[in-house]
Chain length 242, copies 2
DNA sequence: TATTGACGGATTGTTCAACAATCGGTCATC
DNA sequence: GATGACCGATTGTTGAACAATCCGTCAATA
């Protein structure tokens, strides 16, 4: 291991050090509360109450609110305060519109980059990119087998994050991360989220196999079909809840 | 004009009222400074100096900094301050990777929505969606004819924003808006930005004509070719500057 | 000479208290 | 029943203060 390897490893851990910001940690706490569903959509977050409860000043708390506002988990209404985002059916549709573009686009771009004519299965960069996808699929199947339903949902998120990472673009990764966080707000309206997520496990594996076999066009249309089905199911559930 | 029309028009102007926030206006001022290039990348923005110059408190200024940080125009280094973002060649490449996915994806999705088999030219929703694209093309040609080179660049932005709007997705629109704002940081390193932008006017018109004729697949590949060419040109210029 | 360690000014991170502006609801008025 | 005036509560913004951190300088040491 050379010196530059050491330095590179250290650089990778720098992000953990930078997390020292108080506002960032406050945002972390609130983010988990929101995505886990213990803060219902529409709830108003009082600056004073939360500030005293967490022991931070109003200014710092407002900074945390801004962070979550940019992730679309909170909405900020001028002179009225911040609220946990309440998604409409139109939001759900739009979220899936963006998913179609990002996820299918990621597969398509991977196809253009790795297999201009031939199959990418022999490219080791490709197989390396595929490892996280495979991990996510296995993670989901293992969780389902042991009845850890919450983890099935998490694994599903990891799967789609890994697929979008096929584009090899940090900005696509980040956009996908925000999108999935926003989607967690939607999943809580499902009456039976466990069944919802479990139903897509075979589809995920199939997409993985298509990717591994180098059939990127097939993977893209399988993903499109998955997104159409999931959107329809969510929109229907949303109509009932409203 | 019915009552609901009135209300709808008023609602469209609501965003202008919401801009009453001091931090938002400060962010506006700084944003124009940055995108117009009078604040060079890498410049450090002192809280005290700018705060006193603009007559706002440090807390409010920091809130404005956060806004611009989320738009990636500023980078915030802990305990060191905020700096005008300095983009690397890797950033430029990534920006174009995302553009490929968003812009080509928008055209592709428009194709899937409007012409499942047949041409969309008879659909009036389609022609309505195309109007902003046409306006942007004409705006650019007019500006070039009168030598208003800055406006040529602006028109080019409008063109690509309008194309991405073909997806009909607010979130795609917003992502594209942020992306283009970030790209303005890049254009300033070009020695002759006027020639750079002007060269793509015929290409823009050609894409418009393909779209208007209903040849969405042709438009998509023309857009991909445009993006490849622009990226190569920018990366080359970036290599020289560095 | 090159590296290390200590010092000090400058800047940012965070908190606090205060006041102005605005919102939401209540009540009286017409 | 609609309008307008009032009032408590909350947010928007400010200014000041102190702690923590960074950066450059300079002396000490090998």
């Amino acid at each position: 291991m050379t010196t530059s390897d050491w330095l590179q490893e250290l650089q990778a851990e720098r992000s953990r050090l930078g997390r020292a910001s108080t506002a960032g940690r406050v945002a972390d706490v609130l983010r988990t509360r929101i995505t886990e569903g213990s803060l219902a959509p529409g709830t108003r977050l009082s600056e004073e109450d939360i500030g005293t409860a967490l022991g931070v000043s109003r200014n710092t708390l407002r900074e945390a609110f801004r962070l979550l506002g940019h992730e679309r988990l909170l909405v900020h209404e001028f002179n009225r305060g911040v609220f946990v985002r309440r998604l409409t059916v139109a939001d759900v549709r739009d979220l899936y519109e963006l998913r179609r573009i990002l996820e299918c686009g990621a597969v398509r771009r991977a196809a253009e980059r790795f297999s201009p004519g031939s199959s990418p299965v022999s490219d080791e960069r490709w197989t390396g990119l595929l490892d996280p996808v495979r991990s996510a699929v296995e993670e989901g199947e293992a969780a389902a087998g042991e009845g850890r339903w919450v983890d099935v949902g998490t694994a599903n998120m990891h799967f789609h994050q890994a697929v979008s990472a096929l584009a090899g673009s940090p900005r696509v990764d980040e956009a996908m991360g925000h999108l999935l966080a926003e989607l967690r707000l939607v999943f809580h309206v499902m009456a039976a989220p466990q069944a919802f997520h479990e139903a897509y496990l075979p589809g995920n594996r199939r997409i993985l196999e298509l990717l591994a076999a180098g059939d990127l066009a097939g993977a893209e249309s399988a993903m499109a079909a998955y997104l159409d089905a999931a959107e329809a199911q969510l929109v229907a559930a949303y109509g009932e809840a409203a």
